[in-house]
């Protein structure tokens, strides 16, 4: 049975429909990447999963429970944590406070402030600095650490490579195995197709609020991806 699946998931911003019946599944232990252009609905999809947008209860099932109608502040306690797009560290909290508040829900598990700092050692020197005083890559690592502090079963990473230097992106993705080792399943949303293909066991491509392609990276041809990503057939 899948860890999380959605059935015919829709989402609206007022009258504007952003998602048109998404069917999505992720199994425990597999790594899934969601790719798609700007406005394809990737972030809206994650906002739905995390309860920032409310759905029919049955549209999202997690560990067998219908969670579609749960508000955001109950989702993290159920075991889904998100690294939001743009990091969204709390500027008036220090690095350490940002990490600690990640465990506000009190979920127990392997992660602690010390263990996060083992994973990202630079934090030890910066623990009392405000989050905003860090570089973009360091902020991203704090955001990942903050999400891990809730000891999630499922970690959603929204555009964690956005605006970062390639070496920093590599550093961040290099930590994924250590995260997965603890039993956390990871879903990444990426605009960078190469990156997504490299880390994922399975890829979903979104376009205009629909899933246009799904499968293991090895089975997807460049042409198929281009068509699913841009909606273009044949040569560009």
């Amino acid at each position: 049975m899948s860890l999380l699946h959605t059935r015919n998931l829709t989402a609206f911003y007022g009258d504007f429909q952003a998602l048109f019946g998404i069917n999505f599944a992720v199994d425990s232990g597999e790594t899934v990447a969601i790719i798609g252009a700007n406005g394809a609905g990737k972030s809206t999809f994650l906002r739905s999963l995390t309860g920032l947008l409310i759905n029919d209860a049955d549209a999202i099932r997690f560990k067998g429970k219908a969670i579609g109608a749960l508000p955001a502040n109950h989702i993290v306690g159920a075991g889904i944590a998100m690294v939001p797009e743009g990091r969204k560290l709390f500027p008036s909290l220090s690095v350490e406070e940002n990490l600690k508040i990640g465990n506000y829900s009190g979920r127990e598990g392997p992660w602690s402030v010390e263990r996060i700092m083992d994973l990202f050692p630079f934090m030890r020197q910066r623990r009392h600095n405000p989050g905003a005083a860090l570089s973009g890559g360091q902020q991203q690592m704090v955001a990942i650490g903050r999400a891990l502090m809730s000891n999630p079963d499922l970690l959603l990473c929204d555009e964690i490579s956005l605006g970062l230097a390639p070496t920093v992106i590599k550093d961040i993705y290099d930590t994924l195995p250590a995260i997965q080792e603890t039993g956390t399943t990871v879903v990444v949303v990426e605009q960078d197709i190469q990156q997504a293909m490299a880390v994922a066991d399975r890829v979903y491509c979104f376009m205009e609020g629909r899933v246009t392609l799904e499968g293991p990276p090895g089975n997807l041809s460049h042409d198929a991806i281009r068509e699913a990503y841009f909606g273009l057939k044949g040569a560009v």
Binding site: K88, F90, S92, L93, I101, Y104, S105, S150
Partner: protein, 288 residues
């Protein structure tokens, strides 16, 4: 010595103004809500004190043991049941709703208690004073009020910066959506903030009633003092609010000494001067 005396009295009055303003500062800092009914809630607390003092025959300071929890509960219910629904990207709905609340509270108090001036009996404390130097005496009651203001602000400061709940307050203030992703129920956090705000209002209201006569119409005047103290001190800074209250109190007493009858005007003029030269107040928060 006369002038030193005036400054000392002004500082002590500033403690009361700081208590007026602390709750306002706190909820503005946490949820960007400007509570126009704040002054009327202070007067409501004074009347609540009056009911308890006359009804149960308690001394006003003892009545605080009942008034403070009642106002705390009222604050929680008010935020959860009404004001949370007004919060959003638009700043106008909370202004309008609290403005309406202000009118409702004033009229309800007028209906129940009439327009007569009331006073909470402070007994001997009213006139008790202590000599601190040759020719310089301070009232015991104003010293108690000032000490309370310092303790309240220090306590809130500890709560905000040293506890997990305080971190949740600050996180929610920074970014309510991301705070929810952490499992923080922002509606509950906002309600707690208003509850704490009104607990401080309860103190302010009872002290106000012990110090001077009050009637249902004086709320908006207290709101102005509270606003001025908050803005002089710098939005979102609690210690700044205490300084703001002191600046206001000292200005009023010195103004009244220079130009008899101009004490209130002097406070407003000093406020405007500070607004011109330090539009963000004396101790603005780094981010905003």
């Amino acid at each position: 010595m006369d002038w030193i005396n005036a400054v000392v009295q002004g500082i002590l009055v500033g403690g009361l103004y700081a208590l007026f303003a602390t709750g306002l500062s706190l909820i503005f800092g946490i949820m960007r809500l400007v509570n126009i009914a704040h002054g009327d809630l202070i007067v409501l607390a004074s009347f609540l004190g009056l009911v308890i003092v006359t009804g149960l025959g308690l001394y006003p300071l003892v009545a605080l043991l009942i008034v403070v929890p009642l106002m705390f509960a009222l604050g929680y219910a008010l935020q959860r049941g009404l004001l949370n629904f007004t919060l959003g990207s638009d700043i106008l709905p909370p202004l309008l709703v609290t403005f309406g609340l202000s009118i409702i509270i004033q009229n309800a108090l007028l209906e129940i208690f009439s327009a007569d001036s009331q006073k909470l009996p402070a007994g001997p404390l009213q006139t008790a004073s202590m000599q601190i130097a040759e020719g310089l005496a301070v009232g015991v009651f104003p010293v108690i009020v000032f000490a309370c203001a310092v303790v309240v602000i220090a306590g809130l400061q500890l709560l905000l910066y040293r506890t997990a709940l305080g971190a949740a307050f600050r996180a929610t203030s920074d970014d309510p959506d991301t705070a929810r992703l952490m499992g923080i129920d922002n509606r509950h956090i906002f309600a707690l903030a208003m509850a704490i705000s009104l607990a401080v209002v309860a103190l302010a209201g009872v002290f106000l009633g012990m110090r001077t006569a009050f009637d249902p119409s004086i709320g908006p005047g207290r709101l102005i003092y509270a606003f001025e103290a908050v803005i002089i001190g710098g939005l979102g800074s609690l210690w700044g609010t205490l300084v703001g209250g002191i600046v206001l109190g000292v200005s009023q007493i010195i103004g009244g000494k220079l130009f008899p009858g101009a004490d209130q005007l002097a406070g407003h003029v000093v406020f405007l001067i500070i607004l011109v030269f330090r539009p963000r107040g004396l101790f603005p928060r780094a981010m905003d």
